[in-house]
Point group: C2
Chain length 319, copies 2
């Protein structure tokens, strides 16, 4: 380690060139920290910190003194799934208010698109047909939205949809206080209660063993008939066959999917050309490099002070 | 006039069956008022009030004691254009908070659609192509929106877009106070100043001799290159050839049009199959029959009390 540095940080990813992604500013702003890339030839004992995204299975075996792993996104499931991650290592997520705003706009577009039937207008234009929907034009107040996940992002999405006039409900695993105008639900019974009043379901949940496959036949079956799914969580939340069946039998009238269990979405996957599915390439929102830098610096300061980094997740619940 | 009635109101429209449109509830709720339809066989002297939408040119000649004409929409240009409307007759528009909310959601869908390039995603899906926009994904804060018209509806649209994170400017003929976070412009110089900082232009103006043709080559030319037009005012605001030219030369990257100088939009009109124009059938927002009823009753009360109806427009400025 060079003279003025007191910490070494390793960049670990099998899917991304993290050095390029984070850019020179990030690397230089890391005060008194030597940044190396995995696999790393130098002494591994000094590596106390990692920045990771989809780490290789054996990556963390090489760093016996690793104290903390920083994610570059809000979701940390890709890090927790790494078999070589020891239970005592802190995993740190990023919070970025601008990310919540990006997500909120993305979700609002799909919510309004369903409410105002823009797909119908687009189809009519292709047929050069002037046809007013008349009484089928619906007001926001008549289209209830249920949100799965009520953290920083869920709260922002809920608040923005409420100010656009939609009745908004939000569910979380454990009870959370709700801002004015949002109805909060929690626990298993709360989930069923919310689904029973939901036309548009927005999935913002973290991926955990409990939430894997939560978007399934039973969930869709409890929603309003003709409901709509906005899936911006993780691909593994969705049971794909159940979605196709729900669209087929009319339980759902459409779905917007931004995340998939295999990305890129495979060629010839039935989602691509389904007339009632909108596919986007996992781009609903992204954490800014600036926000990653802020979280990283707060983590470093906490480690230097012998404290727990502020955005450390709870390993037992998985987020 | 039947015994208990003190006023006769005539329904006047060449394009709409107003009695059917307003429904039996409206007719019955009109307290001590006899509702008749134009052309009207009975004594015309007793007709002091009209509800009108696109009245025939000679309609108002028949009613020498007409005091007030109620519109069924926020725009009254179709009534002011009637040659038989005497200058001393009060023209009353409808204000409906739910209408402002409908318009706001409609506009937000188009604004976010441009910002997040959903048309590109839709094209990629048709080609079954997974391609992330990456650095081309733009944040709301980088897409300034200019709004033409800053009345009840413009204010609502501006406020909602601002809370979605867009920099919002709004222009009106005369200076108006702006809510927090909105930059207000007025007058001819203000218009140019706003256009010079505008990427997305939203037209919510009333149609008056001054605003006819305001969406023209000069206006588009002052906006950011690659700008976007959301036209939800009146068809006559737009110089159609100038829009097509601006799309052709890249000054504008797209347009959403809900209103047209001839409606329904003519078969084979170039707008129908233009790849960068979205056509909707004049349905961005609609005044509810309940709101028409509320305005109507307030108008009747004012006339009975010998006062000016509260939502009377200023005939000299045209709105």
């Amino acid at each position: 380690m060079s003279g003025t540095c007191d910490m070494r940080c390793v960049l670990v990813s099998k899917s991304l060139d993290l050095r390029g992604y984070l850019g020179p500013e990030f690397v230089h702003a890391a005060d008194r920290i030597e940044i190396v890339s995995h696999p790393h030839d130098g002494p591994a004992m000094d590596v106390r910190l990692a920045v990771a995204w989809h780490p290789p299975d054996d990556a963390f075996e090489h760093y016996p003194n690793l104290q903390a792993v920083c994610s570059i996104g809000a979701g940390v499931d890709n890090i927790l799934a790494c078999p070589s991650l020891r239970p005592d290592v802190d995993v740190i997520r990023v919070v970025d208010p601008a990310q919540a705003q990006m997500m909120s706009g993305f979700v609002a577009w799909h919510v309004i698109g369903h409410q105002r039937r823009f797909a119908t207008y687009q189809a009519q234009q292709r047929e050069q047909r002037w046809k007013r929907l008349g009484l089928d034009v619906r007001r926001a107040q008549d289209v209830p939205v249920g949100i799965l996940g009520f953290g920083e992002i869920g709260r922002r999405v809920a608040t923005d949809l409420a100010s656009l006039g939609f009745p908004v409900m939000a569910w979380s695993r454990t009870a959370k206080p709700a801002p004015h105008g949002i109805r909060a639900f929690d626990g298993a019974a709360g989930l069923d209660a919310m689904l029973g009043q939901t036309e548009i379901l927005v999935n913002l949940l973290p991926l955990t063993p409990e939430t894997r496959g939560i978007l399934n036949r039973r969930t869709f079956g409890r929603m309003y008939r003709g409901g709509y799914l906005i899936q911006v969580g993780r691909g593994e939340h969705l049971v794909e066959a159940d979605l196709l069946a729900a669209l087929e039998n009319g339980q759902l009238s459409g779905a917007a999917l931004d995340v998939f269990s295999t990305e890129p979405l495979a060629p010839r996957h039935p989602f691509w050309c389904h007339p009632r599915i909108l596919v986007t390439p996992h781009e609903a929102c992204e954490v800014s490099v600036a926000a990653i830098g802020t979280t990283f610096r707060a983590t470093v300061e906490a480690i230097r002070a012998g404290q727990r980094p502020p955005l450390t997740i709870d390993r037992t619940r998985g987020y």
